[in-house]
């Protein structure tokens, strides 16, 4: 069976910050560029980013990209590739100033320069003292950024395909990527986008967890497509968790609540952080607070009928203070927990926030294979990609920087690589759409199958319980078996709505096909890594004098590479050679 084919120089999947930044490069270079997005571009999850974007502009005090690089390597717990980290931090001032010229309404100093504020983990002079490096537009940085990038794309005549879902990569027998197959939701039509270059900028996959701050759109579509096409996924065991998501809903309760005096309590009403961090208490780092919360829950001191959350208490604060300083948080608690925090404490759990791993790329945004060679025609940027700049944990404000730098560099690489490509499109291989159409047909004709919602929920609970912020050997081993069983259920999902037009049930089933690939990769990689590093913390790899923080560099200072075929794992060395400066040598990560 044949499907319609549309030809473009380049196709970009995803219209968040990375996709829009890449599209500007391509469209302004005169390439015929298609951007596919499940939603209108300014509805992408980049909008949710509040904190800012880091760049060593030095507008408020002395700063240097080399200091930023040091902080990022340290934040990554030395798992980040130092060539990519140098590239990103060095490019940061340039991409931020460019964004300013695109119309980004950054906050200003009295002199009219971009205002910069301090942010956790960003220091001056190689870790000496905090530095003001984060550039923001009030608490709407991501939103303002997306609007500036979208407007620039409108000017450049980028062609958007809105409410289209990409289903699969097209690869030929040489492994070259020749575009994607996509579904238009409004018509139900399946179309091939035949392109000389394909950039994935599909964002994260935080919806694999039950408790996630990620919007529903973050279903790891790019990772699922890449995995099905035989591309490895890198460092998928590393996920950043935020300590205080509203239990059940995942909605974020900002750290500012603890800053205003909020106290975490267990079922006995005890302020348990006094035991874990006697000095910082409730204001200890995210990792420390999250682990303490999980320990309380695991040792039976959780709250509620299932003893599966702890409480964030602000009832001791003056109601006037809460109304004045935390009005939005009070509303969130009422809406998502059914609790007025003036009268009762808020139920909270550590909640998945950001994916550090992803589709392996070099610092140019080119996707690389097992041998480290560029997969011709394929590029990735943003949260779906792993350059790797975040390594085992991400510094705040480096996510928006990542998508600007690598969105741009992937676009530049496409332009450079296409200069040496033949002018004509390489022909699509015979039967290029067969597997995709078979997948759609299976879904269409499935009887006595499984429910998409129930299966997704089973996957999310399994990930949360077996592979959460604090990990245990037995739970991980059991989790691998469970997630492989759930994979079998995903293969039998059934939808009742068989209509062609606007069939959201079909789209949700297809999203689940992507989520399960990410869930498998995460569980299997986490089970295999027998150390603690960054955001991957295991109970059986504790902090000891021989191995501070449970990190085992001798055996585990390497990237995990997962292949869908047989769930095979391999490892590759961390790139410790920056582009121009000296290596940031391994040492214990402490703040």
């Amino acid at each position: 069976m044949s499907i319609p084919v549309r030809k473009f120089d380049a196709v970009i999947v995803g219209a968040g910050g990375a996709g829009l930044r890449a599209a500007i490069q391509l469209s302004e270079a005169g390439l015929k560029t298609a951007v596919l997005s499940k939603v209108f571009p300014t509805r992408s999850h980049t909008v949710a980013a509040q904190g800012g974007v880091s760049a060593s502009l030095g507008n408020s005090e002395q700063d240097h990209w080399h200091w930023h690089m040091y902080d990022t390597v340290k934040g990554s717990d030395w798992l980040g590739d130092q060539d990519a980290i140098e590239f990103m931090c060095k490019k940061a001032p340039e991409v931020v100033v460019e964004l300013e010229h695109f119309g980004m309404p950054f906050d200003r100093t009295d002199e009219g320069k971009i205002y910069q504020r301090p942010f956790g983990g960003h220091m001056s002079n190689f870790g000496e003292k905090p530095v003001r490096r984060a550039c923001a537009a009030a608490d709407r940085t991501g939103h303002a950024m997306l609007h500036a990038l979208y407007q620039r794309n409108v000017r450049a005549n980028t062609q958007f395909f809105v409410e289209w879902m990409a289903l699969d990569l097209i690869r030929d027998e040489d492994g070259q990527v020749l575009g994607v197959i996509a579904l238009e939701m409004e018509t139900g039509e399946v179309v091939a986008f035949h392109a000389k270059s394909t950039i994935f900028a599909t964002g994260g996959a935080g919806r694999i967890f039950y408790s996630s701050t990620n919007a529903f759109i973050n279903t790891g579509d790019g990772l699922g497509m890449a995995a099905r096409a035989g591309i490895q996924l890198e460092d998928m065991e590393f996920w950043q968790f935020h300590p205080t998501g509203v239990a059940g809903a995942g909605v974020l309760i900002t750290e500012g609540v603890r800053g205003e005096g909020g106290i975490l309590r267990n079922s006995a009403g005890e302020r348990f952080m006094e035991r874990y961090a006697p000095n910082a208490k409730d204001l200890a780092s995210r990792d420390v607070v999250s682990r303490a919360m999980v320990t309380e829950i695991n040792e039976g001191r959780g709250c509620g009928p299932n003893k599966d959350f702890v409480l964030l208490d602000i009832t001791h604060l003056d109601p006037a203070t809460i109304m004045k300083r935390l009005p939005g948080i009070r509303e969130i608690s009422i809406q998502f927990a059914g609790i007025d925090p003036i009268k009762a404490p808020i139920p909270v759990v550590p909640t998945c926030h950001y994916q550090m791993g992803g589709i392996p790329t070099n610092y140019k945004g080119q996707v690389v294979n097992e041998a480290g060679e560029h997969v011709t025609g394929f590029y990735a940027a943003g949260e779906c990609a792993c350059a790797s700049v975040h390594g085992a944990n991400r510094l705040g404000t480096n996510s928006l920087l990542d998508l600007l730098v690598f969105g741009k560099s992937s676009g530049d690489s496409v332009i450079e690589d296409m200069a040496s490509m033949p002018k004509e499109h390489k022909p699509l291989p015979a039967g290029f759409a067969d597997k995709t159409l078979a997948r759609l047909s299976r879904l269409e004709n499935q009887t006595n199958g499984t429910s998409v919602n129930d299966t997704r929920l089973a996957m999310q609970r399994t990930m949360q319980n077996h592979c959460g912020v604090f990990r245990f050997k037995d739970k991980l081993e059991e989790g691998v078996q469970k997630i492989l069983e759930i994979e079998q259920q995903v293969a039998k999902t059934e939808i009742k709505d068989k209509s062609k037009v606007w069939n959201t049930a079909r789209v949700e089933a297809l999203e689940l096909d992507n989520l399960i690939e990410v869930a498998k990769a995460t569980m299997i990689c986490a089970n295999a890594r027998k150390e603690s590093r960054g955001a991957h913390v295991r109970d059986d790899a504790p902090d000891t004098p021989e191995m501070p923080n449970g990190r085992n560099d001798a055996e585990w200072h390497k990237h995990t590479m997962w292949s869908r075929d047989g769930n095979k794992l391999s490892y590759k060395p961390v790139n410790m050679k920056p582009l121009t400066v000296e290596t940031v040598a391994l040492k214990t990560r402490s703040y």
């Binding site: 939603v39 990620n214 919007a215 009005p327 969130i332």
Partner: protein
């Protein structure tokens, strides 16, 4: 509202930029939307098409909605409690 229009609205209510609105609009669509009259349903569709950073402050109560018809629907959204079982 026919199948196609309702499904399109469902997509736009549950694939937002912000999780908060995914949760609130998604639940409202299932539980409250069927009870709205045609005029109210139209107003809801307009709200669902708004940018998240315009809609969320009104639903969260940190900004006031100036439009009377929209304010009526916003008030309904604000009453909605969204909880999932643990």
């Amino acid at each position: 509202m026919d199948h196609d229009a309702l499904n399109r609205l469902q997509w736009r209510c549950t694939r937002r930029a912000l999780l908060e609105l995914d949760l609130i609009l998604g639940k409202f669509l299932v539980e409250d939307f069927p009870k709205l009259n045609d005029a109210q349903a139209e107003v809801f569709a307009v709200l669902a098409d708004m940018e998240d950073h315009d809609l969320w402050p009104m639903v969260n109560g940190t900004e006031v909605c100036e439009d009377a018809q929209q304010a009526e629907i916003i008030a309904m959204l604000r009453k909605s409690e969204v909880r999932r079982p643990q």
